[in-house]
Symmetry: C2
Subunit: 437 residues, 2 copies
Amino acid sequence: MPVTRVDLSQNEFPEAWFNIVPELKGFAPPNATEEEMALLKKVFIPESLKQEFSLEPWIPIPGNLRDLFVQIGRPYPLYRAHGLEKELGLPSGIELWYKAEFRSPPGSHKLNTALAQLFFAKENGIDRSVAAQGGRITTETGAGQWGSSVAFAAKILGFQEVIVYWVRNIYNWKPARKAFMELYGATVIPSPSPHTQAGRDVLAKNPDHPGDLGIAVSEGLEDADSHEGSFYVLGSVLNHVLMHQTIIGLETLKQFESVGKLPDVMVSCLGGGSNFGGFVLPFVPRRLDGGNMRFVAVQSKSAPNLQGEFRYDRADHAGKTPELMMYTLGHETEFAPIKAGGLIYHAAAPVISHLRHMGIIETLTPPLDEVAVFEAGRLFSQAEAQAPPAPESAYSVWGAIQEALDAKQKGENRIIAFNVSGHGLMDMDAYAEVLRK
Amino acid sequence: MPVTRVDLSQNEFPEAWFNIVPELKGFAPPNATEEEMALLKKVFIPESLKQEFSLEPWIPIPGNLRDLFVQIGRPYPLYRAHGLEKELGLPSGIELWYKAEFRSPPGSHKLNTALAQLFFAKENGIDRSVAAQGGRITTETGAGQWGSSVAFAAKILGFQEVIVYWVRNIYNWKPARKAFMELYGATVIPSPSPHTQAGRDVLAKNPDHPGDLGIAVSEGLEDADSHEGSFYVLGSVLNHVLMHQTIIGLETLKQFESVGKLPDVMVSCLGGGSNFGGFVLPFVPRRLDGGNMRFVAVQSKSAPNLQGEFRYDRADHAGKTPELMMYTLGHETEFAPIKAGGLIYHAAAPVISHLRHMGIIETLTPPLDEVAVFEAGRLFSQAEAQAPPAPESAYSVWGAIQEALDAKQKGENRIIAFNVSGHGLMDMDAYAEVLRK
């Protein structure tokens, strides 16, 4: 088997994040009351909030933060998937390439924005009482990848306290991830919890409520609001989060250019939209300028939010957040639990939703039982000699395979790029359970 | 925090393995009966056996195998441990550097020799009946890192069947590693087992026997012997295994040379000796030539084999293997189970034992409860922004810290290099359990 691994040197790591908002004509701002904006200003990291509303196309990445990205191994390689191509029997005109985002120490791309947000929290925290003494961070997590990344980044940057509200039905079957977060000093609380009014309201109606990311967001926000000096951080959906993730796509673009190619189609999984956005946004201007590059979001059958309505909706269950213009299934909807818990969220990021509304983003959904998805993940790992992908990332692999088989059936040439956003080394029980079916 | 990550390009990956045996005056050969040699010739991969007795100083690495090492991400970086140095308050003359061997997809350095052995098994297998149809591999594993690497390598290279005999007391608490091996199609059997005479003999005396690596070796060997066309592979102790691991030290040497430095002392954990040997052997000729570089093996209090007797002993419990000249605690000894199961073996590799006998290798052992070891592992991960080290690799970190503190106390300058041979992402429960003490 030939090997094509496109490396970048340390000094080729991007110097600035790409902000697509200025290029999106008619991009709808949040619909926020004064009270809602006051809450955001109280609990959000000032620099994050500034970036959220920025219209600058490029936001410089501070040098000390760039060093941290080199420390965690970036830039990550781009691989040609020769092994997978061979397994699928693809003709030479159909190429598969993947970004090795699974190289991240805590296991996923979520670390990219966790490091950025907490880096600024530390810089901005100097004027805040508790933060000045070490800092307190609250957040929520679904699959546990975001909670792991926040716990990891917070410890590395020297924060004192991290509180993670974790969707209960996922918390229950991921003891290794819980141990991981606790190893870095985080306090992990299954959500809905009795610690917040938002949690108590849900529990009053259903004491066995399995939890939901929207509820966990409400709890994290309320916790930060009620503890002076706390910062609340979010791992997806918002503009600044997707912008932090553009280092994935910016590296990928340089890597493709270095081999004199560009993808015809880019594929990745989409829950809230952060890995998908980070991967594709740096390529989107080519499409806006009249190119014909395609972008395919792979979603779960349980929560295919890009197939919902395009309207203003809340980002959380309790309705504490401003309304955002999004494709949504409704912020109070309950979803069937799946193993790829990171793909369960009621709405897609405003930036992604806007592009979807423009007809630029397509969607694909595999069957609800996830057997085909986990089989794709196993095939990828075995054919490519890489760690097994996270359940969410296995959706990316599944989607890329559909694109390749479609091109083969149609007799077309196609260069397909996909992002493997995380590894599944802490999800081995999910592989065992699903593939035993 | 400054960042120093020394990368090598893909084409700087070593072109040959380093064989130290020709440089070891008076190195004792195995003490083998004709029957024992016949068994080895029957079940060992012919090329491995040839390498085992080779007196060539350099053995070329085939090009297709070098490609596989690039595919799994090699060469791996060498890092200056700036964060750990800061945590320990080291003066500027004391430097800590570590090799990121934990980048391996299945989690440890064991993949280096698994890929090499199975690559040759495939090449050599063409003349063997079952092997020609896809191949059957038997082996044993202690901590599960070797079993994971064999399962992974075998699937990637297209073998049909892998049987792993796994020390029972470790098998019982590592369901994630079991799922990992099974994901790659391996059959995993707790040892001692009723499948072999060696296993039945042990079970007859004690039906609840917790297992031991020497017993598992006997079972793997007997299984291969009784199934036509099977190859048996071993993950440590033997000359060719340590030689395959020298890619670790060869990369490290190039990396140090590229920054114009050399370590004063090299530290790594030692069970059978494969990661330790692979790391230090390429540096040993400098010591043999009159230099004063030091080599420190960190061992468990449960099985400190380098503190045993230097004599001929068996490599397995049932006595099927030839006798090897080793530091040994006796091949029928039972050891107290610890979390770093990979450090439990009754004897050290002949090459390592020879160097120990020459006075070239020192040893260190932390307390049996392993709390200090896991704390060192956690400190490393938090200070260096890397995945938590495997329990075994945490011994390396612990040992490197002792060296740094010793130099600090003595007011000496010292450049300390240590190998972090694997990650602990599938050992999070061990971290939780030990650090709760």
